[in-house]
């Protein structure tokens, strides 16, 4: 089953390599990995999706914690959460197809971000299956080029968990105990 982790790491050189290398070394196949800044300059946030059964998913978590630069790991697979992927899709759109493509884009609440004589570029943000759906219906017109960011995810409703990543090792009372294993 596909697991989604949110991983908070110290914003230091080489940390992405350490995380990626861990998955390679332990032979876990990353489906998607995104990394970016958070509201705290010293903390970066990764969203990682990886195929793993229950035991494997616990071991991935424990192994992530073994990396000294990893601050907090959340497996949000079964948590209420918001998951978003962004795609840009360049579709062949000649004069007669153009209006159909525009119609489809609007049904999916996608935006046209570039118009050229022979093509349209559509930007869509949403859950992965929504993007897959748009892609499906656009395919007959000819998808010339596509790029996706990979997913980013955030738990619904809760207070910021980045607060639990204070760089002086502050307390983590807001994180459920069963979610926390630790590094050694």
């Amino acid at each position: 089953m596909l697991n989604t982790y949110v991983v908070y790491v110290e914003n230091k050189p080489g940390v992405l390599t350490r995380v990626a290398s861990l998955f390679r070394r332990r032979a876990f196949n990353i489906d998607s990995l995104t990394v970016g800044r958070t509201e705290k300059p010293e903390v970066s946030r990764m969203t990682i999706t990886v195929e793993a059964d229950h035991d494997q998913s616990r071991r991935i978590e424990a192994n992530l914690y073994k990396l000294v630069n990893v601050l907090l790991v959340e497996n949000i697979t079964n948590e209420p959460s918001i998951v978003r992927d962004l795609a840009m899709i360049k579709v062949a759109a000649t004069h007669e197809a153009r209006s159909h493509v525009l119609e489809l884009a609007s049904v999916f609440r996608a935006r046209v971000v570039d118009v050229a004589p022979e093509s349209l570029t559509i930007e869509i943000t949403g859950a992965e299956d929504k993007i897959d759906g748009l892609l499906e219906v656009l395919r007959p017109y000819g998808v010339l080029e596509m790029v996706r960011t990979g997913i980013v995810a955030m738990r619904r409703g809760k207070a910021s968990t980045t607060a639990a990543t204070t760089t002086n090792g502050g307390d983590r009372d807001d994180v459920p105990e069963e979610d926390v294993s630790h590094s050694v």
């Binding site: 050189p13 914690y65 050694v184």
Partner: protein
């Protein structure tokens, strides 16, 4: 802020030694070169004794042996590029056996990084998967905190190797030094875990309901310093103790509850006991494949309790019923008062019967036909040195397994051996490290003729440092363990395993080491005595039976109780005392 004692700014190189000294280190093992020269230049102002090795691999094994003999962090130093890459095997060895070492490497100047400069290697990249953590230091101001963090990470939690790569300019430039302000800042690092109350209760429930429990005693007992706790626990609960290779010494061999070593070359009765058990208590061990055999059939009727400091080891190889993640000593302290004393004499009697049926200690009972067997050498060595403070350091292969079978260790840190990585060439340098760490101890190297030749250059280090190390080469003219696998599994096709060796005694003499060759059993004890009396290192070339085999053996992938046994008609009895 300036250094409080001198009021001066210091170079990165001076800060390096100052911090290493403050971490309690008195000896480092190293080899100089261009990118680490500023550090070597600054060594003259330090109280640290630098031991010049002959190859950087040796430096890492020495640091490792130092750490395993003493429990203190060992330090190895090398230059950039080839100096650093030569450390890789030693670092991986320390990683697999959870040994706390800190490796300092020089790096080309920070402006040159990424330019493929002379002797530039991305050593932090190379060692990423084989270190517990590593650092690249590019400014003098980062040296102090990095060294403090490196030592802290290396020795806390599950110990392991940490590499610190320091650019030449970071060594040369000056900055203010303030030890107090350079405290480790590791917000994501938490080595201090402990189990929850309900997990303790579940464990106690299993322990109290078990009819046929066995303790699997691993390296974690020694690292945690939990020897007394394990003994108290075993005695109170009446549970027998089986040892992993690295667990040898964690529980006294002479203790009535001691079963001996388990696994691929473990005692037959130990493996049978594990397969018959209804509860396994894994104490600081990680269910390595050499210990379990085929996982599908491993102790299939047993519940499992796993006391382990590394959460990533839980359910890795063997699915356990109750994990207790934490420091073994602390966990046992918590458990001990609640463990009920239970009479398990029926189970212990059953194991005793297994012992009688399947003892392996056969070689010792062979008549003295003139042939010299490795088992003779090791068993005689044990008889001669058993009462002293003796540390045996072995290499990897047949002699290592015979040592584990025929030398009975009563104390922790009295056997040092490469278990997880199985590094040939480990013994000689690791013994140097052990002798430096514990100069009062009697240190014996037990090494095969193959592994000895991988790192024999360190004989010069022994001589230069005037170390009293006794070297017993178990010389069978083969890569013995590989030959054994060829005998069993490759139709006796001895491809690339016979060795044409030099005269080791002459070689030893060339280094100025007193050397002897022993070919008969009757010579073993007198020569061991002579070696012990000699004031200086001794090299002993034991020319043993060429095609001897380690029994019993669980073939790779076989079930733990499916052992290949000695085919001859030797009457098998338990080892004579």
């Amino acid at each position: 802020m300036k250094d409080k004692t001198t009021g001066k700014s210091m170079t990165g190189a001076s800060i390096l030694w100052e911090c290493i000294e403050r971490e309690g280190v008195k000896h480092v093992f190293g080899y100089p070169g261009g990118a680490i020269l500023p550090a070597y230049d600054a060594l003259k102002g330090s109280k640290i004794h630098h031991i010049l090795v002959r190859h950087e691999q040796g430096a890492t094994h020495m640091a490792d042996g130092y750490a395993r003999a003493s429990g203190q962090v060992g330090v190895a130093v090398a230059t950039s590029g080839p100096g650093a890459t030569n450390m890789v095997t030693g670092i991986a060895t320390a990683m697999l056996d959870s040994s706390p070492i800190v490796c300092i490497t020089g790096q080309v100047g920070s402006k040159l990084i990424g330019s493929d400069a002379f002797q530039e290697t991305d050593i932090t990249g190379v060692t990423l998967p084989i270190t517990k953590h590593n650092y690249l230091v590019t400014h003098a101001s980062e040296v102090a905190r990095t060294i403090r963090e490196a030592f802290y990470v290396a020795r806390s939690g599950r110990p392991g190797p940490v590499l610190v790569d320091i650019t030449k300019d970071a060594q040369q430039t000056t900055c203010d030094f303030d030890w107090e302000a350079a405290k480790p800042q590791l917000p994501g690092y938490r080595p201090d875990l402990s189990p929850e109350t309900k997990e303790y209760e579940q464990a106690l429930d299993l322990i109290h309901n078990a009819k046929r429990p066995v303790i699997l005693a691993g390296h974690g007992i020694i690292i945690s310093g939990a020897m007394q706790e394990v003994r108290d626990f075993a005695e109170r609960a009446g549970i027998p103790v089986a040892l992993t290779l690295l667990g040898i010494g964690a529980f006294p061999a002479a203790h009535p509850l001691n079963l001996g070593m388990m696994g691929m070359h473990g005692e037959a009765w130990v493996n049978h006991t594990i397969q018959e058990a209804d509860l396994l208590l894994a104490f600081g061990m990680r269910f390595d494949d050499r210990v379990t055999g085929n996982l599908k059939t491993y102790a299939s009727n047993a519940k499992k309790i796993h006391i382990e400091i590394d959460p990533a080891e839980i359910n890795k190889n063997v699915k356990v019923d109750v994990p207790l993640v934490g420091d073994l000593r602390e966990v046992l302290h918590e458990l001990l008062p609640k463990v009920e004393s239970i009479d398990r004499s029926e189970w212990l009697d059953f194991i005793d019967k297994l012992k009688g049926d399947s003892a392996v200690r056969d070689i010792q009972n062979l008549p003295d036909s003139g042939h010299l067997y490795a088992a003779h050498v090791i068993n005689d060595l044990w008889r001669e040195t058993r009462d002293g403070d003796t540390v045996v350091v072995t290499d990897v292969g047949q002699h290592q397994m015979w040592e584990a079978q025929y030398y009975k260790h009563e104390k922790p840190r009295s056997l040092i051996t490469s278990g997880g990585l199985g590094t040939m060439g480990f013994a000689l340098p690791a013994a140097i490290g052990a002798k430096v760490a514990r100069p009062e101890a009697e240190v014996w190297v037990v090494v095969g003729d193959g592994g000895f030749q991988m790192t024999l250059c360190e004989l010069a280090t022994i001589v230069q440092e005037k170390l009293k190390v006794n070297i017993a080469i178990i010389n069978n003219g083969f890569l013995g363990m590989v030959r054994q696998w060829q005998e069993f599994f490759y139709d006796r096709n001895y491809a690339a395993t016979p060795l044409l060796n030099p005269d080791f005694a002459k070689l030893g003499e060339a280094y100025g080491i007193r050397s002897m060759t022993i070919t008969e059993r009757s010579q073993v004890v007198p020569s061991v005595r002579a070696a012990r009396e000699h004031d200086g290192p001794v090299l002993m070339n034991f020319r043993v039976e060429q095609e001897d085999t380690v029994y019993p053996m669980v073939a790779a992938g076989a079930s733990l109780n499916e052992m290949i046994r000695r085919p001859s008609k030797i009457v098998e009895t338990a080892a004579d005392e």
